[in-house]
Symmetry: C2
Subunit: 370 residues, 2 copies
């Protein structure tokens, strides 16, 4: 595997390109896939995971902020009849799963000698990219809505990133970051395929952790916004299946808030047409996920679905998790709320465990709903 | 080892007692030590650490919130000439090292069938005890100053603990919690020796992690308030030394803020006599540490010292850590500020590594100084 592999292909129109020169397809403006997904060897996958990550990732990126293998906590008491675990992504260095993707993405940036990056995120992705850029000595410009809360920006600023407040809509913020591409590399976690290279580690960890208990992954339930964790995990489980390290693909289930459920369209006729604002699950309010087609296809291929949950269900799930000692972002609580929406018979019948992706620390939310 | 071992002895006056019946020495009002410190067998210690904790702790406490082995991150770039690592305690479930102690303490509470506890802490200890009590189905009453910030209380309340605001001084708050002992077990992390049983795991982890790299621990630098982490680590390293698993005791160094440095008295003539308020290192502003004598003796025995740092040094260290991607509480940054105060020759000459105990997540502090 070439360290600085930047050959990309467009899954929509089959155009090919170089990620160093264009962050999206030069033909149809869609998101690039990597030509070579840097799939670890079966030996590397089977060797398990050191806390500093498998060797294939270390080769890509020597920067580490000390990523632990995130804990799996048994939550059977919250889901009668099913074997359920929560995976606590809040224990990652900046407090969310985004660190998996940022580590790989910043590793690629370094390997292609990019020392100045522009992104648009006022939330967990912004903080995560700012942290890994700080560790890698890459300048990081973060474009945020002028209305972004000071609390969210405090962590981003602490890492030394430059914050640019943009008046206007969320799309205006994205446009501003994209326009910075003249002097900086635009590297959105929603667009850059290296982010997915990193989020695959979610699958590698879960499979390894469950195998150690003699069990396997039957299904994974994800809070679903742009799908960068779900899609990375899909690629990860595919790699494990190809290597013969798991016997079947887990069912991948996405959960969206009723306030913003564009990815539910393919799975239910009764999808709501929300404004993509006004939900406590702020981390998944993505109106137009760039990789919507790929996410939908991955879910369908695994026999999964997308379920939609209402605000009171999210708040209730958040409280239930906290009341048994698991403090997560309201966004993460959608995973438990979504599990409750699934027909119980499906989860009970599954031979193996259901994993809830608890994507971020409760400390991320200044004002929890409970 | 008896699961519910509650036999205690007073190190000051040699009185003996039962921890179930009195939370402090019935003769001189000092803090109890355990008669049997539940020292793990050399086999258990040598077997390394599973993410769910060593078996001796599991026997004490089946409650787990998914404690990872906290990461060790190389920080040589911040300390010229010395081999330095930061241990990121913020990746523990509630975001601070307190979870090590709370897990053991709540395990003891359960084993003696105590289902109602009273504590006094508006900070990390309060959040940590509230979380483990939630997981263990133990009612938790948290007494706080009426002036405690809403942000700090949000996490405590989320876990379902009851919060009692007390007018008056910090001592008045402690008195109120102690007085609750009629209906609830008073279980302060500063007083209950089981908290130290748990914080020993800091030493077990560090020694195991460094041994895996072919190195060893030369010294550990701790933010120093009540000393519950330093003293637990001392007991842990002693157990490792007795088992022949380490060759020498590391030098233990405490760092106090100039605003509150009662434990510096024994080590320097030039100690400040601060008001124990007004520092950004809010987690170590403890005017009268109950175990002051034991902490001082442990430090002296290892050839360590207590250094005092000023506010600008703490703020600078906090910024330096964040600017290389390590986001900690201002309190934790005192460890780096203290390291800078140590004569460089001492650290360079040491054969082995210096560990900075980075005690809590930066997400704990709503308004970081940088």
């Amino acid at each position: 595997v070439a360290v600085a592999d930047s050959a990309v292909v467009c899954p929509h129109c089959d155009a090919v390109g170089d990620l160093r020169h264009s962050w999206r397809c030069t033909s149809c403006n869609g998101p690039w896939d990597l030509v070579d997904w840097l799939i670890p060897s079966p030996a590397d996958l089977g060797a398990g995971l050191a806390s500093t990550g498998p060797s294939w990732l270390a080769a890509l990126d020597p920067v580490s902020l000390g990523e632990p293998v995130t804990p799996l906590v048994g939550l059977d008491d919250l889901a009668q009849g099913a074997k359920v675990y929560g995976k606590l992504e809040g224990s990652l260095p900046t407090g969310s799963f985004k660190d998996r993707g940022s580590r790989a993405l910043v590793g690629w940036l370094r390997s292609v000698c990019s020392d100045h990056v522009a992104i648009d995120s006022s939330g967990n992705a912004g903080a995560s990219m700012a942290a890994y850029c700080a560790a890698a000595d890459v300048d990081c410009d973060v474009y945020v809505p002028a209305t972004a809360s000071a609390a969210k920006l405090a962590q981003i600023r602490a890492y030394g990133a430059r914050v640019f407040a943009v008046d206007g809509s969320r799309s205006d913020v994205t446009e501003a970051a994209m326009s910075a591409g003249d002097v900086a590399t635009y590297a959105s976690h929603m667009w850059n395929p290296y982010f997915l290279v990193g989020t695959r580690t979610f699958a590698f960890e879960v499979a390894t952790q469950l195998a150690a208990t003699g069990s396997s992954v039957a299904s994974v339930v994800f809070p679903l916004g742009s799908g960068s964790l779900l899609l990375g995990a899909y690629h990860g489980f595919r790699a494990l299946l190809s290597a013969g390290l798991i016997a079947r693909m887990p069912r991948l289930v996405g959960v969206q808030a009723a306030a913003c459920a564009p990815l539910a369209r393919s799975f239910t006729d009764a999808f709501p047409d929300g404004p993509c604002s006004g939900s406590i699950a702020e981390g998944i309010l993505v109106a137009k996920p760039p990789r919507a087609d790929a996410v939908t296809a991955a879910i369908a291929e695994t026999g999964g679905t997308v379920v939609v949950v209402e605000e009171p269900e999210i708040a209730s799930a958040h409280t239930q998790l906290a009341r048994r000692g698991v403090y997560v972002e309201p966004t993460s609580a959608t995973a438990l709320a979504g599990l409750r929406r699934l027909p119980r018979s499906e989860e009970q019948a599954a031979d193996g465990a259901t994993i809830l992706a608890l994507t971020g620390s409760g400390l991320k939310s200044a004002a929890p709903p409970s």
